[in-house]
Symmetry: C2
Subunit: 295 residues, 2 copies
């Protein structure tokens, strides 16, 4: 079992780079579901069944379950996906970031309790905060790199130099020689010394295609999780042009609200399926266009 | 209600900078507790009652509860602390880092569901990832700055320059003029433009006293959460010398395992109380020594 291997199979089998984000907000559920005890599970289950044929991955966002005391429904949901749609990997979007025995407990939560195939992790605490997840063979770890929010650049776009570069040549030369940004450093570390398992990926927002292109240059064929298409304003053609590999894959382009809430009525699942199909088709068309342009 | 105000009162009333970390690991519980359904709550409750008189704060680490499916016991524990020890603030150590509606759900989890007084947050995604927590007046947000682990420096110690500095004077001059490190940038942002609520704090590891001193210079009287004393090797005297304010306070010096597992037998609570008292006394002695030296 390998997250990256299974993801490549999903890209091929579904011919889709769509990742369906599961951010269940009961305030937006159709009226018939609202009174049910297991409304969160039932809503997500219907979405999953309606969209699985168009998706390369599902990405439940744990905050939506945690704020509703719905951890049990998240466990049931991941179990359901594994049983009914075993070809579609599950990424738990948790953005964990801790070290040592605490990180071991988070890894246990993610991989043993929730049985996710991969998890999102913040790199701020360095390699120590990634290593405990690598103890689970074949599970994926997807590091925040360049996020889609406007303030994402507050730290991620800073130009950086290492202290030993500075000592060797003075700060000015170290920076002048290699004016790398923080997110580029993260991409290089993830593609190089940190990727001991071969199961790392990177989060790069759809809202910054130039940075996405740069990360693809640095990260080779590494899977990229790309949020920010749709509600956040990222454009599918420019995302595919910047981030797809030469095979026309390599990305999990996430869409959450535009699919989940395509309709607020009883037809929500059918509408979600339609929205997922349309997004998959737009991704396919963008790949075809890129190929036609020789990309 | 204000986290920082209450914390200052706790420093004064308890004359203690000890923060008791609640990282409950059932494998290390005394035999009599192990079979109980609510063993995690009962263990922590006994620790809390035995140490509250020596502590300025409690810091439950959510990973230990999440890996055990014990969210309900964490809710009960925070409620118990508020009821029995209302003068001791509760910091939920969760190191959250997300944006927009997802961060709103995390804030709801932390402040409404668990009723914590403060939460730890990662700054990697920038101010956007802090703002949703500030919507809760009087609640604290403690940002990761310089963490205590060896790999903490992988990113945090990089020398940084902003793009507009680079544009104005060229990268080399921007860096040469101000060879700030990433953690220093985080400290300056937290002490300045990001601190709209006046309720921010910073996490700075005990294992790097020079960096702790630097953060104290940059952050004024801002509360610092300082893990890494005890099991991780940080030294109390050098921590107090580097990080205490002129009032002999300003820090939550965290100790977890050295207190929780001071004894593995039935006397675990009494032993924890003794360990907490001894750590408080060592902190007091270090403050007295610093004062005697004119610090």
């Amino acid at each position: 079992m390998s997250f990256v291997f299974n993801l490549r199979a999903a890209w091929r089998d579904a011919d889709s780079m769509l990742c369906v984000g599961l951010d269940p907000d009961p305030a937006r559920f159709p009226a018939a579901l609202a009174p049910r005890e297991d409304a969160i599970f039932e809503f997500c289950r219907a979405i999953v069944d309606a969209t699985a044929g168009y998706a390369c991955a599902f990405k439940p966002q744990i905050a939506y379950f945690a704020s509703q005391r719905a951890e049990d429904q998240l466990e049931a949901l991941v179990g359901y996906i594994h049983e009914r749609h075993p070809g579609v990997p599950v990424i738990l979007d948790a953005k964990r970031g801790d070290i040592g025995s605490t990180a071991e407990h988070y890894a246990r939560e993610v991989f043993e309790r929730y049985r996710a195939d991969a998890v999102t992790v913040s790199p701020y605490m360095g390699f120590d905060s990634i290593e405990p997840y690598l103890a689970y063979p074949g599970r994926g770890v997807i590091l925040l790199c360049r996020t889609s929010n406007p303030g994402g650049g507050d730290l991620q776009s800073l130009r950086v130099a290492r202290d030993d570069d500075v000592a060797a040549s003075g700060a000015r030369d170290a920076i002048a020689a290699e004016p790398e940004r923080l997110f580029e450093r993260v991409a290089r570390l993830a593609a190089g010394p940190w990727n001991r398992s071969g199961e790392l990926g990177l989060v790069v927002g759809a809202t910054f295609p130039r940075e996405l292109r740069r990360v693809r240059e640095l990260a080779g064929e590494m899977p990229l999780l790309v949020p920010g298409v749709g509600a956040q304003g990222g454009d599918i053609e420019s995302v595919v042009d910047a981030g797809a590999t030469s095979e026309g894959a390599g990305m999990m382009v996430n869409s959450s609200r535009a699919i989940l809430y395509a309709s607020g009525g009883e037809d929500f699942a059918a509408a979600a399926g339609e929205a997922a199909r349309a997004t998959r088709d737009a991704l396919r068309a963008a790949v075809a266009k890129k190929r036609a342009a020789g990309g």
